[in-house]
Amino acid sequence: MHCPLNGPRNISEFTYGGEYKPMPDPRQCSDSEWADYVFNSDNRAGLVTEWWMHNASSYWFLAERHTVTDEIIRTFDPKEIFTQRIDFGADGSKETTA
């Protein structure tokens, strides 16, 4: 696999991190929307986008992979998709401590 940070490495140096799927807004969505996001999957036989990590450098990135042929089409840095910082604070505000 070609790591966007470290170049081509053996597949055993990487950890699979699940498919990439857009997260619903935890403050707005219903329980069933959240359950759908947490558990459900298209589990497609074909091209998918997924999270991977290079173990030694703890670097997370995205990969496009074919789940039938096991071909890795492309790997890229998450900043291609995540252009803004995401906040996980319950009310969406920045965690601030006095």
Binding site: I11, T15, Y16, S41, D42, N43, A45, T67, D70
Partner: protein, 413 residues
């Protein structure tokens, strides 16, 4: 006798027994269409035809009978799970397995040799205590044993592999194995005898859905109408669910296994180690079957990898060092439909007349009889969910009521 044998041999028409009638055209319509031709599908057809008088059934298999995971599994049969929902269900299956050869009048080579799981940490010992008690509570035979007892049971076992000395064992006396192909054939033959049509090389490609009902099923050999339908397609579960727009928490992972050259009998019980992610058993032919954990990432492909085979073998050799000189005879993989809680997805679907037998992952062979029996009850009653499978509904994931069997499943299937 030799004379009659000679006559039989020279006769141009052998009075051969026909197990499965030759394939014919699909009928335009069936009461029940069962998708998949593995053990689960065939058992469902059998129990429907034998106990519920439903015989207008088609079993549609895209390849050949029992060629999916039914033919690829390592045939561990046991009921020593963790949750009461799980143990109750699997214990019932073990009971059915015991009588199967009689029921079929066909030898499935059921062999009750006991299954031993090794604990290498205190945490595992605690979990084993709980599993032993739950199992006993539901009529299973399971007890904790110490190192000395393990040594007597399996003298060839290395009790101090590397940094992981064996502390104790979970000894499941009901643990067993059987010939997996025979289970599929037995169900197929008995179902066919009662009029069930088994169509191989018949792939389900799409559905016709009207008013929340599956009214017809499209295959490569034409479209058939159906009163109701059930899917039991293991690793391909999501592919059908996606066509119906049903969301489910299934991920398809390969699971690999292998078998060595034959040895003289040396190993009676099935032995597995939770920490080494490896299990080993000797077949009645003397071969050693070696299995372990799933592949590290999802894939719809039955290819094997050197990485996984190497690490699995390293662990097997730690358990049984003499195997270092063994030669491998065969190796293979199957694609398994994994769920987040390592329990199946059985019962109703969001569609009125479409039933699910999915999410069987790496542990569904042992459940073949009870799946067939409960799915048949569900179908025959028009959707009344048997109590035994109620905890395994697809709906449990939207109410966060998972049945967690991960710890009791991962190492030994």
């Amino acid at each position: 006798m030799p004379f009659s044998l000679l006559k039989y041999g020279l006769s141009s028409e052998y009075p051969a027994e026909v197990d499965l009638p030759a394939p014919k055209e699909l009928k335009p319509s069936y009461d029940v269409v069962i998708i998949g031709g593995g053990g689960h599908a065939l058992a469902t057809a059998y129990y429907l035809s034998k106990y519920h008088g439903v015989t207008n059934i088609a079993v549609l298999e895209k390849a050949y009978l029992g060629g999916g995971n039914t033919a690829r599994n390592t045939a561990v049969i046991r009921s020593n799970y963790l949750t009461s929902e799980g143990v109750r269900f699997y214990a019932e299956s073990v009971k059915l397995f015991r009588d199967l050869s009689n029921e079929f009048d066909f030898n499935i080579m059921y062999s009750e040799r006991g299954q031993l799981t090794l604990a290498h940490t205190d945490a595992t010992v605690r979990a084993f205590r709980q599993r032993a008690e739950v199992n006993k509570h539901f009529g299973g035979r399971t007890e904790m044993i110490d190192r000395q007892q393990i040594r007597e049971l399996v003298p060839t076992l290395n009790l101090d592999p590397g940094h992981l000395p064996v502390l104790a064992g979970l000894w499941h006396i009901d643990g067993a194995t059987a010939r997996h192909d025979a289970v599929a054939w037995g169900y197929a033959k008995q179902a066919a005898k009662r009029g069930v049509e088994i169509h191989q090389l018949t792939e389900v490609q799409d559905f016709v859905v009207e008013n929340n009902h599956v009214t017809a099923i499209r295959t490569n050999r034409g479209t058939v109408r159906c009163g109701c339908a059930v899917q039991a397609v293991a690793g391909s579960s999501s592919l059908l669910l996606n066509k119906l727009g049903i969301r489910a928490p299934i991920h398809t992972y390969p699971l690999q296994a292998m078998v060595t050259q034959p040895f003289k009998p040396f190993l009676d019980p099935l032995v597995s180690s939770s920490a080494l992610h490896c299990y080993v058993q000797q077949t009645s032919r003397g071969e050693i079957v070696i299995g372990g954990g799933s592949d590290p990432y999802p894939l719809y492909n039955t290819r094997s990898t050197l990485d996984l085979k190497e690490s699995l073998l390293a662990h097997a050799i730690e358990m049984f060092p003499f195997m270092a000189n063994a030669k491998l005879m065969r190796q293979w993989a199957g694609i398994t439909d994994m769920t987040p809680d390592y329990s199946p997805i059985m019962g109703l679907s969001p569609l009125d007349n479409y039933y699910l037998d999915a999410g069987w992952g790496t542990w569904g062979f042992k459940a073949t009889p009870i799946c067939g029996k409960t799915m048949a009850e569900l179908i025959a009653s028009g959707g009344k969910v048997p109590e035994l499978i109620a905890p395994f509904s697809l709906a449990r994931f939207s109410t966060f009521q998972q049945v967690n069997e991960m710890g009791a499943t991962a190492a030994s299937h």
